[in-house]
Amino acid sequence: MKRRMEIILDGQRIRVDEGKSILDAALENNIYIPHLCFRPGLDAFGACRLCLVETLDGRLVTACETPVEDGMQVISDSDRLNRIRRVIASLLINGHVGDCLKCPRSGECKLEDISSYLGINDEDLTKLREFKIDDSIDDSNPFFLKDNGKCILCGLCVQSCDIIGVNAIDFTFRGAKTKIGTFMDKPLIDSICVSCGECVETCPVGALVKKSEKPSREVKTVCPYCGVGCGIYLGIRGDRIVSARGDPENPVNNGRLCVKGRFALNFVNSSERLEKPLIKEDNEFKEVEWDEAIAFIADKLSKYNGDEFAAIASAKCTNEENYLLQKFTRTVMKSNNIDHCARLCHAPSLVALSESLGSGAMTNSINELKKASCILAIGTNTTETHPVIAYKVIEAVKNGSKLIVVNPTRIELVRHADIYLRNKPGTDVPLILGMCKAIIEKNLIDHEFMKKRTEGFESFKEYVYDLEWDEIESITGISRDKIREAAILYASSPAASIIYAMGITQHFNGTDNVFALSNLALLTGNLGRANTGINPLRGQNNVQGASDMGALPDLYPGYQSIDDAREKFEKKWNCKLPKEKGLILPKIFERACKGKIKALYIMGENPILSEADINNVEEALKSIEFLIVQDIFPSETSKFADVILPACSFAEKDGTFTNTERRVQLIKSAVRPPGDAKPDWWIICKIAEKMGVPGFEFENPREIFDEIRELVPAYGGMSYKRLENGGIQWPCRSRDDPGTVFLYKDGFTRENGRAKFILPSFRLFETPDEDYPFILITGRSLYQYHTRTMTSKIKGLEEFKDWKSLEMNPIDGEKLGVREGDFVLVKSRRGSVKAKVRFNEALMEGVTFMSFHFAPVNRLTSSVRDPLSGMPALKVSCVDLIPQ
């Protein structure tokens, strides 16, 4: 609890927490003191000198920089102060161009406020010498303008760019020529700017302004892109989404956003949206009414047996909808053939962490990263994939946390790292075990934790002892000293946290990778405590929720096994349930090829682009007799459909999303859906009703959520009302349970309460050989999202980083005799695609990269799977490059 202090401001007694500034105290008490270069949440800068106040002894101090002292007496308004402020304000106005009425910031401009507060008039201004202003405008960024003539050099933009660790802009030049500029004064689009728009949000004048229209109302909801789950306010004008801003109260992002969250949400307004149900007749889609479509589907589906039907749920849809789809599959179709895209991202995490710790989710929370004394970021290009989490990692580093980055590519995060280990692709297990070996050798083990809370340590110790350093070095390509250095830093930190993503899981040995990481955390006791943990960063906004809701072939909602919990669910759902375990996602397609799966219901997915080895998927979709695709846009997959159903986007329905840190958050309907589009839950209910199966009589998502609460203990204590402000992290078992910030405080959720060391194997899948000498890594780009169903509708995003190219090290380019912009044929054992070459020095020699937004990339990847989780080895494949 902070001490409260009392100060006397202009004769008024006001109270404020210790450590706050005079300006904080005034603003918290709704007292205005002129200021320009200060914004709550950022550091005081003291540059504009407008917040000068007088202390009792007549000193002039800046209110923003001066901390309060108990009993302090301060004057904020006097002739002396106003005289000084008038001069400062006049000089600023003299160096500021613009016609206020035509300025987008008009009405919110702080310079305008100050000018009118101080009563600046012509007399103040005409006595000043005319000043030659650089009034150039940088129009290069598709989402915002930089109008140099309006800049008052307050530095807020520089500070906001610094906080997120990008530092694309800074004060450049000196004296009267000072300006906010990029490297070599290039247009923003050619700089390292990531277009997050944080600077635009902080600019007090019209120097950095959004190009978008102004909204007429706002609706609080959650961003639909990645798994971070940032709170946003959607700006709406009429029935269109025109803007978005971060919700400063939301604990996940504290108001910060990335380029997609801030500028790429108006895909909702796209004219390409599906508006009417479509039924395929003679290879052409015909618009029909809902009644007809529902009747058609009900009639068709009733002809199939359970094992002939499969459904693919969606990590983009709400918890309620995923719950309903799995319920539909199990109770109406009597099948357990339901899965979703987590199979292609964190299935290994789910399998490995459930087995070793008890639960497959992030053990700790995003905000705890800020306080971790060491962060190990392995197999995650966080700045591209989870930008807002990256902001927090960088913030932690600035506050003294140590950062270890393990990645074959010299990613942006490396710039902030204390130790960078550049291992060969796919060699994480030996590297992590090497770290474990070093920790055991140096005896940095948490013995008490080992004794009280774990099992299987002895055999793990022996296993690690037997590993040879020579072997580890030769496989990973990293010296033992470097591995030891990283291990010691990790093990000797009081609270160390691991974050990882697809670089760990999307391998033939993905589950082994996660086992290895889990062992590393256990060895050092970095679990079950604040600011530690092992944290898989989830890719999609609701992929955690889709798993929680039981859109899995072997688990009911709440990860209850279909063997153990069947009776409970049969009773609750009042029907018999199938006993046999369902098919995992890739197997659904395999079986479809063989004609075993005849009907498929795809909700909000585009598997023809997202699956590994898509040649196979195409064949599967062609051989399926009856395919339902339910989506917001026509997709590459919907071409194969027999019925296409128009669904509502995140902005047109209510419901809940569960983010990567297990936080269940409310989303709210903000605009009217286009045409006849309906929420996914409504559609599923109607089909079930038409098929005459009870249990789907829901009026709204709240009623569905109430049923979920009864069945999923971890959601038991939640309600829409409780979720209103910032959401709740599961497990939350009762009405008065505040939710769980970090897991395993009192014990692991395995049978005996102990975590288990599991021995990972060393298996490697493909290694380069003479025929396929290059390694191809696939990954995500900041400016696109997955199969681009949403982001392709945002024109501005096209102007960034070419996501269609094949990236390679310039040295490899030289060897091959290709230049940037040339085309090469990329050939793997599965197929080949043509791609344009782009050089990227961050890549290792012999390693190439393609983003998975580029559709044909999955012609190259392999569907060979991790035997433990079913995860295809999407991340790494071997290719040959043939210059064209």
């Binding site: 760019c161 990008v166 530092n167 694309a168 802009i169 800074d170 004060f171 450049t172 030049f173 000196r174 500029g181 990029t182 490297f183 070599m184 004064d185 700089s191 390292i192 010299r410 710039r415 902030h416």
Partner: protein
């Protein structure tokens, strides 16, 4: 590249090394090449934007190679009073470059500086260390002849 590596590796790559490294780079290349600054950013972990902010703060650093003839125009008090602004304007028009730039054929570069210490001869310019005094705009064409 080799020369740059050598310079970088003689420092630890800390933030406080940036100014001395910039000086060494300029000594080696005569200016700060863009790619060298990018490498420096990678080596120190300080972003290229910040490095540019630091480098532009100091008058000693330049970002374009000097021309064969480096023309310095004095803008000290005496020269200013005697019309150095006009001299700069004339040279800019004549060479079709801005102050601080180099002609595309690398023949000339133009820089305006503070007092060069020969106020009694104002206004003056320097061409490759040689002072030309009491200069008048109409002399410029003859002093700075252009090919073709």
């Amino acid at each position: 590249m080799q020369r740059l590596r050598k310079i970088l590796e003689s420092y630890q790559g800390k933030r406080e090394d940036i100014i001395p490294v910039l000086q060494d780079i300029q000594k080696e290349y005569g200016y700060l090449p863009e790619n060298a600054l990018k490498e420096l950013s990678k080596y120190t972990g300080v972003s290229e934007g910040q490095i540019y902010g630091i480098a532009t703060f100091y008058a000693q650093f330049r970002f374009k190679p000097k021309g064969g003839k480096h023309v310095i125009v004095c803008t000290g008090t005496a020269c200013h009073v005697k019309g150095s602004d006009q001299i700069i304007d004339t040279i800019q028009r004549h060479l079709k470059i801005k102050e601080g730039d180099t002609t595309p054929d690398h023949e000339y570069s133009l820089e305006a500086v503070g007092c060069i210490g020969c106020c009694s001869l104002a206004p003056c310019i320097m061409i490759n260390e040689k002072v030309i005094s009491k200069i008048k705009p109409r002399q410029i064409k003859r002093l700075l002849p252009q090919k073709s």
